[in-house]
């Protein structure tokens, strides 16, 4: 059975209650019964009132009157329960000295709801983009002819969604064909391009979209390095095809440096005369690479993922960093690096789960974060934007 959309949840509860009432009436026959309803499920009080109301109304329609126990010919004990899959409502019907009879109804449980969407230089905001059961690796939001499009990359496909009536409707599904086994902590990058729509980088696999409609996606085995920033002329780094990190080999390099320790993520912070690269190394250390030197910064316990962003706030260049909350509630925080020591530039922006991907947007004015929710296990993509604080 399909899950119930929250909007039609109420009417389905009422319909199911009426069906249960019909079963009760068929079993009990007309007359007066004592009715007791116990809620042992996750249904809220409002839903239970609605169920009671529908049940009683239908019983009356079928000639069964609700009465006090001493005035009733029998009793009906209704229990609203649930399994992991569905709501299960049982009615134990006892009429006189007859043996108890049981009537049962079930209906699917709704999916967990999707969440609706400081005295620091920067205030972080998250805008919900999309949620799905399969792991989202990256997402990109762009304006195109006919309105906004959202591209969502997962391990099997890129799906292009078009916004219609406030919902993202799939417009094209482009399968990713690959011959190499993907690693367990799969990472992937979807980069928008000028001469065609986008490129996809996956461990050991590269895909390039067509430039025209109908959209196509051509994938091939590739060990080519991944761009570290959205710019086409970016520094590129080789990704370990059976792991979840960059090997540290660069092409072209960061200035004169063409080899750095293996790292998970890199952020490029533009300085007047050079680019300061911030790397989260696999060994847990933080590296600052300015093109000449590679300095290890001990101290900050940042997460593995980071993304550089540009804003009109503070110094104008911030790096978004993932941090672990309590428990399994990750957060993002903006930092500035005025000299060599990172300084917090925003309050933490919390998520209901673990951050599993964080990539800068094409314009570097924001980032895309993917969160795996603790409660449902679903993956949610958010656009992270910055505004100036106090």
């Amino acid at each position: 059975m399909a899950d119930i959309a929250p909007a039609c949840h109420g009417s389905i509860l009422g319909d199911t209650a009426r069906q249960l009432a019909h079963k009760i009436a068929t079993s009990s026959g007309p007359g007066a019964i004592a009715l007791n309803i116990t809620n042992r499920s996750s249904l809220d009080d409002k839903s239970v009132r609605e169920i009671r109301s529908a049940l009683e109304a239908q019983l009356r329609t079928e000639g069964v009157r609700i009465a006090q126990p001493e005035q009733a010919m029998g009793s009906v004990e209704v229990i609203l329960s649930e399994s992991l899959r569905e709501y299960v409502w049982s009615a134990e019907i006892t009429i006189g000295s007859d043996e108890k009879r049981v009537a049962l109804m079930s209906l699917p449980r709704p999916q967990a709801g999707v969440p609706s969407a400081a005295a620091m230089p920067v205030v972080l905001r998250k805008t919900f983009l999309y949620a799905q059961e399969r792991p989202i690796l990256d997402a990109a939001l762009i304006e195109m002819t006919g309105g906004s499009r959202l591209f969502v990359l997962d391990d099997t496909q890129v799906v292009m969604y078009r916004q219609q009536s406030g919902r993202w409707e799939p417009e094209a599904q482009l399968p990713i064909v690959h011959s190499r086994t993907f690693p367990r902590d799969l990472r992937g990058r979807l980069l928008l391009r000028r001469d065609h729509l986008f490129d996809v980088y996956l461990p050991g696999t590269f895909c390039r979209s067509g430039a025209s409609v109908p959209l196509t996606l051509a994938c091939n085995a590739s060990d080519d390095p991944w761009p570290l920033t959205p710019d086409e002329g970016s520094v590129r780094a080789f990704f370990a095809t059976a792991r979840n990190f960059f090997t540290g080999a660069l092409s072209p390099g960061m200035g004169r440096i063409s080899n750095v320790p293996s790292f998970y993520a890199a952020a490029a912070m533009l300085r007047p005369n050079y680019t300061l690269w911030v790397l989260t190394a696999v060994d847990g250390s933080l590296h600052l690479v300015d093109g000449m030197t590679d300095q290890v910064v001990r101290g900050p316990r940042w997460g593995s993922d980071l993304a550089a962003v540009r804003s009109a706030c503070g110094s104008g260049a911030q790096v978004l960093v993932s941090e672990r909350g309590d428990p399994e509630r990750d957060s993002l925080r903006a930092f500035e690096i005025p000299d060599r020591d990172p300084v917090a530039a925003s309050s933490p922006l919390e998520f209901d789960g673990s951050i599993v991907a964080l990539w800068p947007e094409g314009s570097s004015s924001g980032a895309v974060a993917v969160v795996r929710r603790e409660d449902t296990g679903w993956y949610e993509a958010y656009r992270i934007s910055l505004s100036c604080g106090m």
Binding site: V102, L104, S179, V282, G303, S354
Partner: protein, 450 residues
């Protein structure tokens, strides 16, 4: 001892929560201790529940199934990526995943799977054709996917010395029967190389020994009594109830009268036993299947009713019955004695004994599948009851099938029980699923340099 372990586990939880949101690291070895001491790496027929869980945890690291089941009972692709069946569920066709190899390098093919399944299910007709496997049965098998997802249907071969060779994330490196198993990462695993390089499993460790080793930092992952795990520790994970504790009547039992059996069931006050002897773990049960599978367990009463029990026995002259229990189950004796005490109030004499012929047994059985029909059949099989006919997983069909099994009280359900495990603070992403399956292929170790 239990208190010491509890405090240590709580301390571990604070250590674990201080880390930042890091991506998984590759490398390292995790040390595991288990109660069982298996002579071979397989699932013994009619295993004690602890042995069953240990065997399935080990085999799940080595082998995969054609399909897996989510906790909600939905089938998911594993070695098979697609399937279809005819309208009466007698003909099934599976499309197999490409690019999979057994750990010995041999080809994973439909023919190989047909060969593996044939001795496990002589009544199935498994045939191969290219990437396609077909299974035909004489009788409808609507729960075939759930059956294929059971641990006993893992797709594995055996070496000449009997060691399992599968397609899973770890391969057997060294096995000392009853003592030690070393598993090494399968670099070619279709689902991705695991993060750990190695898992070292020590067998034959009692829960007490495991707790001490855990406390001393000599092991990383242990089994925990669910009773002890009702703590707030983030490092202890307790499953949904996946075991049934019940009283079952052997064929030669002197207690053949259904009224006597019903009276015994009505005499048992399950809640004090659950809250005291089981330390609050699990749920009192009147049904074979737990509520998380069916949603209707409240219909099966667990309330004691001694006056009604006495009324049922009014005209009966009862002999004393012998109640036996599994001596390997550390809680069984106390629970059996408490049941005997309850029974006496209703006029039934139970002698708790491990010697001589028994009239009823206190047993634990595994509910191995989130698919309720499959778990009902498995429970009936382990309890020695006739196989129930379950037409579908529709709630009415399940209820009727379960009610039919319980007609005449051949078994008295007592408790639905969870299983539990704990991991040390250096084990990251320790997140066993809600059915108690450990996710060791997904865990990784904190880098020493951090």
């Amino acid at each position: 001892m239990r208190r010491i372990a509890f405090h240590f586990l709580v301390a571990c939880s604070f250590l674990g929560s201080a880390a930042a949101a890091t991506r998984p690291h590759y490398g390292g070895a995790v040390r595991v201790q288990l109660q069982s001491a298996p002579a071979t790496l397989d699932i013994p027929a009619n295993a004690a529940t602890a042995d069953y869980w240990d065997a399935t945890r080990v085999l799940a690291l080595i082998a995969d199934n054609l399909v897996s089941m989510e906790t909600q009972g939905r089938p998911q692709p594993a070695l098979a990526i697609a399937w279809q069946n005819d309208s009466n569920a007698r003909h099934w066709q599976f499309t197999l995943r490409r690019g999979v190899k057994f750990q010995d390098g041999s080809a994973f093919s439909a023919a190989a799977i047909a060969q593996i399944l044939a001795p496990l299910h002589p009544d199935w007709h498994a045939q191969s054709s290219g990437d396609t496997l077909t299974i035909d049965t004489d009788n409808p098998l609507p729960s075939l996917l759930a059956e294929l997802a059971l641990p006993r249907n893992a797709i594995l071969k055996r070496t000449a010395s009997g060691l399992p060779v599968g397609t899973g994330p770890f391969r057997v490196g060294e096995f000392q029967p009853g003592k030690l198993l070393k598993l090494a990462a399968n670099e070619e695993c279709w689902s991705g190389r695991p993060y750990l390089d190695e898992i070292e499993i020590e067998f034959g460790k009692s829960l007490r020994d495991q707790a001490i080793a855990f406390e001393l930092g000599k092991t990383d992952v242990i089994e925990v009594s669910p009773a002890a795990s009702n703590s707030a520790s983030a490092r202890v994970r307790t499953s949904l109830p996946v075991e049934l504790m019940a009283l079952v009547f052997p064929a030669n039992s002197k207690a053949q009268d259904p009224r006597v059996r019903e009276a015994l069931s009505l005499s048992i006050d399950r809640r004090p036993i659950q809250s005291v002897l089981l330390k609050g773990a699990g749920d009192p049960a009147g049904s074979l299947l737990p509520n998380w599978m069916t949603g209707y367990s409240a219909v099966f009463s667990v309330q004691p009713n001694v006056p009604r029990a006495k009324a049922l026995l009014a005209d009966s002259r009862l002999p004393a019955f012998t109640l036996s229990y599994d001596p390997r189950d550390p809680q069984a004796q106390l629970i059996a004695e408490r049941i005997a005490l309850n029974a006496r109030e209703a006029g039934i004499t139970l002698q708790v004994s491990l010697s001589g012929a028994d009239d009823l047994r206190l047993v634990r059985v595994v509910l191995p599948s989130p698919d309720p029909a499959t778990s009902l059949r498995e429970a009936a099989r382990q309890l020695g009851l006739p196989q129930p006919a379950v037409r579908s997983n529709a709630v009415e069909d399940l209820y009727q099938a379960e009610r039919t099994v319980l007609d005449g009280h051949p078994v008295i359900p007592l408790f639905h029980l969870p299983v539990a495990g704990a991991a040390s603070g250096r084990v990251r992403d320790w997140d066993p699923d809600r059915r108690g399956e450990w996710n060791l292929p997904q865990v990784w170790l904190e880098a020493d340099s951090r």
